[in-house]
C-alpha cells in the first residue's frame, strides 16, 4: 500500500493521527494525510465513512479531539488566531451551496471582501465581478441566489470562496445536490481551477473528474483512510478489497 507520507517545505496540510468522536461514535480514526502545495486530492468512500468530517476538520468547522492538523504552519487548536490564520488560506465549497439568500449574488462576494479583507465598496465590487466573470455568471450579479439554478448557485459559491484568495480549496460533494445536466458546468469550473495550480481537496464521486485532475486518490471507510494512491494505480489495481468493491459499485453506472 502506498501510504508514503512525506513532509517537506511544500507541505501545506499535515494531518497526523487525527481522531474525532461524535459522542461514542468514532467518525475519524487516526487519520494521517499530507497535502503538498498544488496537489489535487480526491477523496471518496461510502456514505458515513467520515469524508465530510475529515475536510471539515481541516478548516475547523469541526474540532478534532486527537492528533494534530497543521495548515501552512498554523496548528489548529483552541487558539483562535491560528484558526483564523488557517481559514485565511482555505476556501470551502459546500454540498448545499450555503449562499446567503437575503443578499444578491454580488453582495454574497463583497461581504467577505469588505468585512474581512477590508476593501472599499467599489473596489470590492470590481474584484467580485472579476471572479463572477471567471465562473461565467457576471450577468446575474444583481439577482438573489434563489433566482438562479443549482449549477449557477454552486458557481457563485465557488466564486465567493475564490475571491478571498485562498491557497487551498476544499470541496464537499459540490455536485451531488445538482440535477445531472448541471453537474458538468460546475466540474468545468473546478477543472479550470485545477489547471491554475490551486491546491484542492475534493470529496466527490465524480470519477471522470477524479481521473482528469487528481494527483492523489484517497479512499475512506469507517473513519479511516484505507487507500491512498496515484489515480492510475487506484483505478486499475486498488489494493484493498473494500476499495475494489466500492469502485465496482460506483463505476457500474
Amino acid at each position: 500500500m502506498n501510504t508514503q507520507n512525506t513532509t517537506d517545505k511544500n507541505t501545506v496540510i499535515q494531518l497526523t493521527d487525527v481522531s474525532k468522536w461524535f459522542g461514542d461514535f468514532q467518525a475519524l480514526d487516526t487519520v494521517s494525510l499530507n497535502v503538498q502545495l498544488g496537489e489535487r486530492v480526491v477523496i471518496c468512500g461510502p456514505s458515513g465513512s467520515g469524508k465530510s468530517t475529515l475536510i471539515r476538520c481541516i478548516n475547523r468547522l469541526e474540532a478534532h479531539e486527537k492528533g494534530t492538523i497543521i495548515v501552512n504552519g498554523h496548528e489548529l487548536n483552541n487558539d483562535k488566531n491560528n484558526v483564523i490564520a488557517a481559514r485565511n488560506e482555505i476556501g470551502m465549497v459546500f454540498q448545499h451551496f450555503n449562499l446567503f439568500p437575503h443578499l444578491s449574488v454580488l453582495e454574497n462576494l463583497t461581504l467577505g471582501l469588505t468585512r474581512v479583507r477590508k476593501f472599499q465598496k467599489t473596489e470590492a465590487e470590481q474584484i467580485a465581478m472579476q471572479y463572477l466573470e471567471r465562473v461565467n455568471i457576471a450577468e446575474q450579479s444583481h439577482k438573489l441566489p434563489n433566482q438562479l439554478s443549482g449549477g449557477q448557485q454552486q458557481r457563485v459559491a465557488i466564486a465567493r470562496s475564490l475571491c478571498m484568495e485562498p491557497r487551498i480549496m476544499l470541496f464537499d460533494e459540490p455536485t451531488s445536490a445538482l440535477d445531472p445536466e448541471m453537474i458538468s458546468e460546475v466540474l468545468d469550473v473546478m477543472v479550470e481551477l485545477a489547471e491554475t495550480g490551486m491546491t484542492m481537496i475534493c470529496v466527490t464521486h465524480e470519477m471522470g473528474f477524479a481521473r482528469k485532475v487528481a494527483d492523489t486518490m484517497v479512499f475512506m471507510d469507517t473513519g479511516q483512510i484505507i487507500e491512498r494512491s496515484a489515480p492510475e494505480q487506484f483505478f486499475t489495481e486498488p489494493e484493498s478489497q473494500r476499495c475494489q468493491q466500492f469502485l465496482k459499485q460506483i463505476l457500474q453506472h
Binding site: N59, L61, I84, R87, N88, I90, G91, M92, F94, H96, N98, L99, F100, P101, H102, L103, L111, G112, R115, V116, L144, N146, A157, R160, S161, M164
Partner: protein
C-alpha cells in the same frame, strides 16, 4: 422584478375592515338589548357635550401610541441582547438567558407596573414619572417574550449559513449582523407584529398609575358622566381601530421585506 407590482392597497382594505367591524358591533349591541336606556348623547359627535367628551377621550390616543411604541423599541432591543447568550455553547451564559426569561415571564404586567412606579424609586432612589414607569414595566415584561422570539428565529436559520461565514473568516458579530439577523428578523416579523398589538392592549394597564392614555381618559369620563356602557363602547372601538391600522401596517411591512427572500 420591481417592487411597484407588489404594492398593497392598504387604505381600501383596512377601511373596509374597520367599517365592517364597527357596523357589526353596533348591530350586535343594539339588537341584543332593547330595554337598555341608551344615552349616546354623551359621546355623540353631533352635540356639544358629545364633541367635548369625544375630544377628551381621543386625547389619550397619542399617549397610548407613544407609550406602546417606546416600550416595544426598548423591549426589542433588550430581547435581542437577552437572546444572544442563549446561543452560546457555554452553559453559564445559557443559564443567564433562562433565568431572565423565566423570572420576567412570571411577573404579571400589572404587578410589574405597580412595582416599578411605587417600588423602584424607593429601591433605586430615582424619581421616575408615570410615562417612564409605564415604559419600563411594559418593556421589561415584553422583553422576555422578545428574547424567546429572537432565540427561535435565530435557531431556525440553517447552520450552513454560519459555516459559510466561518469559512470566509467573518467574525461572530459580523456573522450575526450581516448574515443571521437579517434572515431571522424576516422570519419573526409576524411574531413581532403580534407583540406590538399585545403591547398596545397592555398599555391600558398603565392607567392604574394615572397615565393619561385611552383607558384612563375613559375611566375619568365615566366618573363625571355616569355613562360607562357608551363610553367603554367608544373605548373598545378606539382600540379596535388603532390595532387594525397597526396590523395593516405590519402586514405591509412583512410583504415588503418577505418579497426579497422566499426561503
Amino acid at each position: 422584478m420591481s417592487h411597484r407590482t407588489q404594492k398593497i392597497p392598504f387604505s381600501s382594505s383596512a377601511t373596509k375592515l374597520i367599517r365592517l367591524s364597527v357596523i357589526l358591533m353596533m348591530v350586535g349591541l343594539l339588537s341584543g338589548c332593547k330595554d337598555v336606556n341608551w344615552g349616546w348623547y354623551v359621546v355623540s359627535p353631533f352635540t356639544n357635550t358629545g364633541q367635548t367628551n369625544l375630544q377628551f377621550l381621543l386625547g389619550g390616543l397619542w399617549n397610548t401610541v407613544l407609550l406602546s411604541f417606546t416600550a416595544i423599541v426598548i423591549s426589542v432591543f433588550i430581547g435581542l441582547v437577552v437572546a444572544l447568550p442563549s446561543l452560546s455553547t457555554n452553559k453559564h451564559w445559557r443559564m443567564v438567558n433562562r433565568v431572565y426569561v423565566e423570572a420576567i415571564r412570571a411577573i404579571p404586567i400589572l404587578v410589574l407596573i405597580l412595582w416599578v412606579y411605587y417600588g423602584l424609586p424607593v429601591v433605586a432612589g430615582i424619581q421616575i414619572n408615570v410615562f417612564w414607569a409605564g415604559v419600563v414595566a411594559l418593556a421589561l415584561s415584553d422583553s422576555a417574550f422578545q428574547a424567546e422570539i429572537f432565540r427561535a428565529g435565530i435557531q431556525s436559520i440553517d447552520k450552513g449559513q454560519t459555516e459559510a461565514s466561518h469559512s470566509i473568516n467573518l467574525n461572530y458579530p459580523d456573522t450575526l449582523r450581516f448574515v443571521i439577523l437579517p434572515q431571522a428578523i424576516r422570519r419573526v416579523l409576524p411574531a413581532l407584529g403580534n407583540q406590538l398589538v399585545y403591547m398596545l392592549k397592555m398599555s391600558s394597564l398603565v392607567s392604574i398609575i394615572g397615565m393619561q392614555e385611552l383607558t384612563r381618559r375613559a375611566n375619568e369620563l365615566v366618573v363625571t358622566e355616569y355613562r360607562p356602557l357608551e363610553i367603554y363602547t367608544v373605548l373598545v372601538l378606539e382600540y379596535l381601530v388603532l390595532i387594525l391600522i397597526v396590523s395593516a401596517f405590519v402586514r405591509r411591512l412583512e410583504k415588503k421585506m418577505g418579497a426579497n427572500v422566499s426561503a
